[in-house]
């Protein structure tokens, strides 16, 4: 279950009870980082037995007890930052080229062809970046023997035990890179069995198969959306766009179109506060207060295909 922002009008409790998930529910608040354990309000919404997986604190324990791994992880993070930085540089030029082409006056067929080629270049760059990041993670995990390192294995074992007793997992929003790092460190994807997933905001982004960072009106720069990393892949072919009220300019058809075409055939979904998308066995079976961005620049309420 993918949800819209929960801070002001939480729908989490009613959604959990709506599918008769009685708990216990594992909580992931690693995106809150140092505030990971300030989960009282969240527990109150859930109204059932809960257990915080404490991924952020567990990672701190790993870094403390396995300095060699910490060092290797830091080195990987530095490489990731460089990769993201260079990707961003190239991306901004590609997007600028696309913008310029769209402003040009030319015979329609030439314009369409060149604009399509420009967009294809952006898609190739996105895919290249995603692949580079995937290779980096794989190389790191193989080189350090991540799964078999004693401290990591110890935590993974504890997490497996905690999750085995849970009927659901609630993934809160927050810092998506922090969240992803911790989930990857503890191999969380492999530990998830048939629990119901409730993920909102950044948590929903991380649950999808591709994390796209976005903001149409930042105080600096053009607001170029960028691919960060692969997500857990709990849902596929959906680009999660929470907080559209403040982050998206849905009235800007050119931006909407570009985003939708860039990630097509994945569905770019704007999840407003109170929204939910119900995914079962990989297929969307229900949705509410969700807008799908269309390749023609429009956006329409997201409806389940019959």
């Amino acid at each position: 279950m993918l949800l819209g922002a929960q801070r002001f009008d939480s729908t989490l409790g009613s959604v959990v009870r709506g599918i008769a998930c009685e708990g216990p529910i594992a909580i992931i608040t690693a995106g809150w980082r140092e505030r990971e354990d300030e989960d009282g309000e969240l527990r109150a919404h859930l109204e059932c037995e809960t257990v915080n997986l404490n991924l952020y604190q567990r990672a701190s324990d790993v870094w403390r007890r396995d300095p060699e791994l910490r060092q290797a992880h830091r080195a990987k993070q530095t490489t990731l930052r460089h990769k993201q930085d260079f990707y961003r540089i190239r991306l901004e030029y590609e997007l600028e080229a696309n913008h310029v082409i769209r402003q040009r006056r030319a015979p329609p067929e030439i314009l369409a062809e060149e604009e399509a080629a420009s967009l294809a270049a952006v898609r190739i760059l996105d895919a290249y970046h995603l692949d580079q990041i995937r290779q980096l993670h794989e190389k790191f995990e193989a080189e350090v023997g991540l799964a078999t390192r004693p401290v990591v294995a110890e935590h993974r074992e504890q997490l497996a035990e905690q999750l085995a007793g849970c009927k659901g997992i609630a993934i809160a929003g927050g810092h998506v890179a922090s969240m992803l790092n911790r989930m990857r460190l503890f191999g969380l994807r492999e530990l998830i069995d048939d629990q119901a997933i409730f993920a909102w905001s950044g948590g929903g982004m991380v649950a999808s198969d591709r994390v796209v960072l976005f903001h149409d009106s930042p105080p600096q720069g053009p607001g170029a959306s960028e691919v960060l990393d692969a997500g857990l892949g709990l849902v596929s072919d959906i680009v999660m766009l929470p907080h559209p009220e403040t982050r998206l300019r849905l009235d800007d058809a050119a931006r909407v179109s570009l985003l939708a075409r860039r990630f097509d055939p994945a569905a770019c979904l704007a999840l407003f506060a109170g929204a939910h998308v119900h995914v079962h066995d990989g297929a969307v079976v229900g949705a509410s207060t969700v807008e799908r961005l269309a390749t023609d620049g429009s956006h329409t309420p997201f409806e389940v295909a019959s």
């Binding site: 801070r7 140092e34 505030r35 998506v176 976005f214 930042p218 105080p219 403040t246």
Partner: protein
């Protein structure tokens, strides 16, 4: 004459005074219609003139009186989204008086007082400067430091961001004329909002005041020592501050801008971020004579020396200035000099004057460039 006023006069009967009363009461002034603005003043006088504060342009223009009434008016062109400060000069016999526009509630405040301000079509007070009930508020706490440099206490207010934690480390922003920035530029609300919107990272700000700013801020060695060797270490010892130049910023407007730059020059590469708003960067280059008065003498000496041999003293410098200010020339000409040193420099102009609202309206652009916020990474 404005279209509305013209229409009113054309249709006015013998009770024109009453109709004018009703017309004035139903409107806010100056009356802005697209690119034109009509100033209105009512009262008995021999002459009424508009005195605006746009540097370099003719400042004195007469208002015309409508016969048989006490209504004076003047129509001028006004660029969209601009803000122009003005007063009315009212002459009665030999007596001249400059007054603020009694029909206009909008004021532009500066370190020396306030003027009425005309807001061009499309100007809106930015929403991020207004109180947002959804924004988690930070806290302000008074702090007095017994300064050895000055031999007397200095008063500050320390801003801690919402959800402050001692286990995290924060950038430090030191703001000159701190109380004025809080009172007239709404800086606490601005910080609360920008942090809430993730446009800047949570930071600790010190709003520092001076009892004698015109001397302390004019390249006074004691001030630079106080800020760098007393205030910053005191804050760092009491609060979790990031210990890198990139995490330390000096901010100031007008003479406060001089204080920020001259402190950075005295302590190169300690303050890695500078936010300079309408800095009073007066210089002469040729000779030493200037028209700005004796208080500017140390400023001119400092700026002449800095302009003679500019060096990189910081990493990033954000400079803003209003195009209607007399200081626009000094600020514009400083930018290439800063740029040549290798520092990263961003310069922003606005159709505005030397006032707190101008400085308030530029803070988002400046702070978010100096301290990049985590808005692309955090989705709560």
């Amino acid at each position: 004459m404005t279209t509305q006023l013209r229409a009113l006069l054309a249709s006015a009967g013998e009770d024109i005074r009453e109709q004018l009363d009703a017309w004035v009461k139903a409107r806010s002034f100056p009356l802005v219609e697209g690119k034109s603005a009509t100033f209105v003043w009512r009262g008995e006088a021999d002459e009424v003139r508009l005195r605006h504060f746009i540097f370099g342009l003719e400042t004195s223009q007469p208002l015309e009186r409508i016969d048989g009434t006490d209504l004076w008016h003047l129509e001028v062109e006004i660029p969209p989204r601009s803000r122009v400060e003005y007063k009315f000069e009212v002459r009665r016999g030999d007596h001249n008086k400059w007054i603020r526009d009694p029909l206009n509630p909008h004021l532009a405040r500066d370190p020396f007082g306030a003027n009425s301000v005309l807001q061009g079509a499309g100007y809106e007070i930015p929403d991020w400067t207004r109180h947002d009930p959804k924004a988690r508020p930070g806290t302000l706490e008074a702090l007095t430091i017994a300064s050895e440099a000055f031999g007397q206490p200095r008063h500050c207010k320390v801003y801690l961001p919402a959800r402050f934690r001692r286990t995290r480390r924060y950038p430090l922003l030191v703001v000159h004329d701190g109380s004025d920035y809080l009172n007239y530029a709404g800086m606490k609300i601005v910080l609360d909002n920008l942090i809430e919107r993730l446009e800047i990272p949570p930071l600790i700000a010190v709003f520092a005041d001076s009892p004698d700013r015109l001397h302390d801020y004019a390249n006074d060695e004691r001030h630079a020592r106080f800020v760098t060797e007393e205030l910053a270490p005191r804050i760092s010892s009491a609060l979790p501050i990031l210990d890198t130049p990139a995490s330390r910023c000096l901010m100031g407007a007008s003479f406060g801008g001089v204080a920020a730059l001259s402190t950075a020059v005295r302590y190169p590469n300690y303050w890695g971020r500078l936010l300079l708003q309408s800095g009073s960067f007066a210089f002469t280059d040729i000779g030493h004579q200037h028209h700005r008065g004796a208080l500017f003498d140390p400023v001119v000496r400092f700026m002449n020396a800095f302009r003679e041999a500019p060096t990189a003293v910081s990493e990033r410098v954000f400079v803003s200035c209003g195009v209607y200010e007399s200081l626009i020339y000094e600020n514009r000409s400083l930018v290439p000099l800063l740029d040549e040193t290798g520092m990263q420099v961003r310069f922003v102009e606005a159709r505005d004057g030397h006032n707190w609202e101008n400085w308030r309206d530029r803070t988002r652009e400046g702070l978010s460039w100096l301290f990049r916020g985590p808005l692309m990474m955090i989705y709560e």
